[in-house]
Amino acid sequence: MAKTLISCSGVSKHYGDVEALNNINLDIFSGEIFGVIGPDGAGKTSLFRLVASLLIPDSGKISVLGYDSVKDYRAIRKKLGYMPGRFSLYQDLSVEENLAFYASVYGTNIEKNYHLIEDVYSQIEPFKKRRAGKLSGGMKQKLALSCALIHSPELLILDEPTTGVDAVSRREFWEMLKRLKDKGMTILVSTPYMDEAKRCDRIALVQNGVILGVDTPEMVIRQFNFKLFAIRSEVRHEIIRALRTFDSVHQAYLAGQLVHFTQVNPETDDVERYLMDQGFGDVDIRTIEPDIEDCFINLMMN
């Protein structure tokens, strides 16, 4: 098994009365893309700040690259590339000036480490004289990543790098992360988009400061222990209402143009029959593979 780079054991953190993280246990291995997936307010940012030594846990221990996050924060900070949730760029400095400044903060310069960022930075280099404030979301994101990479960190922590970025840039970004990983980089990344889970080697699903599950995306899906029905209909709202009064119902919820449905006794109770009886004759029912969002909902309900 690969080396453990980050290890959280029994980590809790609260602000006033608000419990941000509750007893988090997590190991992140060298060379993987680890995704922390959950909605706003789940505790993703708190977790990343704890790992980046920006916060101190109320209880529990975090070790990063072999160092204690509280005692040895200086050693960690030297080897960390960190990109906070909002792209932390100086809006009034140009692309190049931002990069040069962050390089100098780590005592290096652009020329020396150009090879590390070339893949990312070359895409925005034509605009290097432009002020960061005038860049599009996708370009800001690439610049912020370049800035986080410029000092050749051993570990990259990216807090919601794809939020507020257009679809094309999002994909390009994940492809860049993949190439970084192939070069041996360990990447800890968070996202509120469930569909980005499949881009990660392993994921943690978080909600209300608790980890609902940690595994590879495939395993998370395989652990979904219900038969999932997808029902296509023009009257989704009415179908959901009807399904919720069905004796055998486990869950019935909207999924875009479909209704997803799981039941407790799939052997004995026939949902198609039930809907027919309820007067929904013309519905298209099939069983499908769940996606991460279905798994998330299922885990939230437990």
Binding site: Y15, R49, A52, S53, L54, L55, I56, Y73, R74, R77, K78, L80, Y82, M83, P84, G85, R86, F87, S88, L89, Y90, Q91, D92, L93, E97, A100, F101, Y102, S104, V105, Y106, G107, C147
Partner: protein
Amino acid sequence: MNRFLSFVKKEFQHIFRDRKTLLILFGMPVAQLLIFGYVITNDFRNIGIAVMDQARDQKSELLVNRIFSSGYFLNRGQVYNIDEISSKFKSGKVKAVLVIEPSFTNNLIGKGEARVQILTDASDPNLASTIVGYLSGIIYKFQMDDVPFSEARGIIAETRMVYNENLEGAFMFVPGTIALILMLISALLTSISVTREKEVGTMEVLLVSPLKPALIIAGKVTPYVFLAFANGIVILLLSYFVFGVPVEGSLILLLLALLLYITLSLSIGIFFSTLASTQQVAMFLSLFALMLPTVLLSGFIYPIENMPWPLQWLSLILPPRWFIVILKDIMLKGNGIAYIWDEGLILIGMTVFFIAISIKKFKIRLES
């Protein structure tokens, strides 16, 4: 060192790219000086003064004549004894009394030296200073034109400010403006520039970097030392060339005092930035904790001696109060270090205090 220099470079880039702030920065002292300066000169018409002419001889009457024909002063009548003076002042119509000694002409021509006394109501210190300035000018001109003597020492005009005796010399607003502007640039702008990084999120990246807090603070402060110093010099030049405010004492001492005060203001700015998490809060802190007290309580506009005692006590903790005393001593009185060491020591003490708590409070993490 390289890190430090690039940090300072970055700060200068922020400053010079924010044209509006820069304009305010250098425009404000100019505007303020001009406003204070000209409000006083523009209002300077028909000031009521009274004369206590104990000589009533040829030259004394000629002098009184010259004064009232200047157009600046209105004759509010004669005063015959000392006791009358205070009731004249209290009526509010008389802002100054010119006292001429007996045997004015004889003394002037015989001894080559005669005395007059200018008593002013200094509850409006700026006005009082200006009156003294104008009267002195008229007396000087009278002496040149009407007293054909060159060897004599001439007329000695002795000045007394009634109600505010410690005010000496003119142009209170120059030291006040310097104290205010420097405080504002140093404290307000540094605290805003630190909190801006907190707000935008760049502070988070600086914190996870290996930069030491002392370097971050020093990098933030350095550009503003230059800026504040440049601003102080602009004000001094302006007041010298436009209003003729002199620097009687040592220029070196004056610049050192400027530097001390700037350092103190910067340390207050850094202290505020450890308290505030947004630019808005930093701004309010500076405005209410610094600017208003500086304007109202430091003796800049209202004489401290005339304040009720709780406010007088409050003024003791205001750095500008002490700095204004130092400035007045050096610029107007020409005093040396022997006269200002105690005020200087107070400012140094305050600086050490603020730096110490700022370092103690500067967060290496995001913990609140």
